[in-house]
Amino acid sequence: MALFTFRGGVHPFDGKALSKDKPIEEYKPKGDLVYPLSQHIGAPAKAIVEKGQRVLMGERIAEAGGFVSACICASVSGTVKGIEKRRTVTGDMVDCIIIENDGFYEKAEPLTDKTFEQMSREEVLAVIRDAGITGMGGAGFPTHVKLSPKEPEKIDTIIVNCSECEPYLTSDYRKMLEEPDKLVHGLEIMLSLFDNARGVLAVEDNKPDCIKLLKEKTAGKERISVAALKTKYPQGSERQLIFAVTGREINSKMLPADAGCVVNNTDTVIAINNAVTEGEPLIHRIVTVTGDAVKDPRNFKVYTGTDYSELIEAAGGFVTEPAKIISGGPMMGFAMFDLHVPVTKSSSALLCMSTDEVAKWEPSACINCGRCVDVCPSRLIPSHIADHAAHFNEEEFLGLYGMECVECGCCSYVCPAKRQLAQSIKTMRRLVMAKRKKK
């Protein structure tokens, strides 16, 4: 079978061997749980609990603050300690609900008492919304919004992003191996919302065991197929994934729906299954604790709101002093200066590296080698765009299609002069977007 892919991309050291063969273990939080009200794309959620109130596990503690927003459910039973500003992975101070865990894990009423077969489309969407499901790959786009496009009949492909192209991450890999039935059923639930669509499980070919397993599980299911993707970063980038699977290209002004596609991450699809079939809101997620500075890298099933520092302890602590701690993978994750931040719905990994490769190199002059051009999945000229960005040359920046950058960071990765290309381009994109918003 031919491999699906796109032009460009890089092959960084993948480091998955560290945690690949470690089965998922449940981790029960010891300290208080912290729920940032803004852990998704869109309007922040609005708290609906008060200080001193007792909440149950799975009870809604904050409701969606707008159309593009998501609610938040408590992951443990306990008492609300307060609502205060806490630091999150991005370094921002965000309003957070803080809950003291009583250790009973007393469950609230399930989201629905109907079975999937009894539910109408609207009811399925309502359950997904009430479960507070957001994209669990990193961006955190509210899933019920994604699943309600303007013209649902035009959607012909639902892609489950099982590529996990980020180095070091193994949370999706473990989920695929351990809960393939839930994954396939989650996809079937999504297919029930779109009559004209086929479902594609897109897996990178560095996970042949997953491809084989998923093929077995989907055998005989006419609407579902498994696509083997070429292993390279950023294969899991939404635009590149749609192109690899369907051959359709979208740009920054379009949504996946414009290409007839809906793309969801592995963990998100399993969360959809759990919400619809078991009435369980999104209160856990798999976090890979890994890196060469961690004693015993592992995959944990973590209650959202758990403090990151607890996970390090659970993984045996540090073997060496980590130089850099990243929430997420090394290509797209957030570097943290402090471990005391909560796990959110979109945290996929805690990566602790003993060397800081960024600080190790000093940026030098661009030699025009063109390696960034070769790897850019958006087919741009990163070095020239970054140059214009550094000089705040907006017209030239836009003329070279600077806004089409997907911020994957491949250009910075390959640059032999170690220039911070992605950083310059990102900064300029933020400025242009802020300016457009003002208008």
Binding site: A335, W361, I381
Partner: protein, 338 residues
């Protein structure tokens, strides 16, 4: 008293501990490829070695002396320039060593020893550093210096006489194979392929240069686009306009002679002075081939590689302008309006 002191101390220590706990942050990505500028330059130096070693073996110890002077002067001028303008030294990126080596390989073995010194000064100071150093020069430094030397010291730069080997006593002073071809004489292709001919130190051995070029392409230091387009278009041009048709000896002479191999693999592919996109590189290669052909066939001299590449360097910004690639998901503007 002692109690409060103790307390302050612990508070201070606590602060220190917290500060140590803070990790460095940076924007994504957090990992970097191992390939660096000095690695790429090192690969180019390695790829030039077969031709350089052949040159030293063929032309004798004087070739080695000229090469060493050229490289040493290039390093010295770059270091000195950085020192004078109080900038951090950029010698470590090895690009000045590449320049020095290329310059020496572009000189005849009989030149006086002060020629490489002047050449190095022009290459490093005038062509490269005055324009802002590595990455900012609009012209290949080694070629810029060579053209300057040819114009200023034509007598030395066109004297291709040499004592072959390390013990040779008889001076060989025949014209270069390309000049003989132009005069209508015949050449021995095999000798040209090996490099047993007159010429500059590094240009004579086609096989050694080809080896280095293929090595660079295989290690993805350069791509084939510029080199192949250059060579193919030159051969096509000389076949059509050379007046000898598809004469194998004539075309082979054009291919192996006159620094085409050195130019196509090592100087036209210079990162800084070639277009950055593949499409631009193809246009640039074809342009160089045609220009070299014009110089060789219709020009007064037999050679044309250096001037063709230098003129090519100058039109690179224009090529870049018309070869901006279409981004992923590009839609025709008309569609966007509708």
């Amino acid at each position: 008293m002692s109690d409060t002191e103790n307390k302050e101390k612990t508070a201070g220590e606590k602060m220190k501990e917290t500060a140590q706990l803070l990790k460095s942050v940076s924007p994504t990505p957090h990992v970097r490829d191992k390939v660096s500028t000095s690695y790429l330059m090192g690969m180019v130096i390695a790829a030039l070695m077969p031709a350089e070693i052949y040159g030293i073996w063929h032309f004798g110890p004087r070739a080695l002396i000229i090469t060493l002077i050229s490289i040493a002067c290039c390093i010295f001028f770059e270091w000195g320039f950085d020192k004078i303008i109080k900038k951090k030294s950029t010698v470590g990126d090895l690009s000045c060593v590449v320049t020095g080596l290329l310059l020496a390989m572009n000189l005849p073995v009989a030149v006086p020893l002060w020629i490489p010194v002047i050449g190095a000064f022009v290459a490093i100071v005038v062509v490269k550093m005055l324009f802002g150093g590595l990455g900012q020069n609009f012209m290949n430094p080694a070629l810029g210096a060579r053209c300057f030397l040819v114009l200023s010291f034509a007598r030395y730069m066109t004297d291709f006489s040499y004592k072959p080997g390390w013990g040779g006593a008889d001076v060989v002073s025949s014209a270069t194979p390309l000049a003989r071809l132009k005069a209508g004489e015949s050449v021995d292709l095999m000798q040209m392929f090996i490099g047993n001919e007159g010429g500059t130190i590094g240009e004579t051995s086609a096989v050694a240069l080809l080896l280095g070029g293929v090595f660079l392409i295989a290690c993805s230091v350069i791509t084939w686009h510029v080199s192949l387009c250059y060579i193919v278009s030159l051969l096509a041009f000389t076949a059509v306009f050379g007046g000898r048709g598809f004469d194998i000896t004539y075309l082979g002479g054009q291919l192996y002679g006159g620094g085409l191999m050195l130019g196509a693999f090592f100087m036209a592919t210079d990162y800084v002075t070639r277009p950055i996109t593949r499409k631009g590189q193809v246009i640039y290669g074809i342009f160089l081939g045609i220009l070299t052909g014009i110089f060789r066939v219709f020009g007064p001299g037999a050679e044309g590689v250096s001037y063709a590449i230098i003129i090519g360097n100058l039109i690179v910004p224009l090529i870049e302008k018309i070869t901006v690639p279409r981004h992923f998901g590009y839609k025709k503007p008309a569609k966007e309006v509708a």
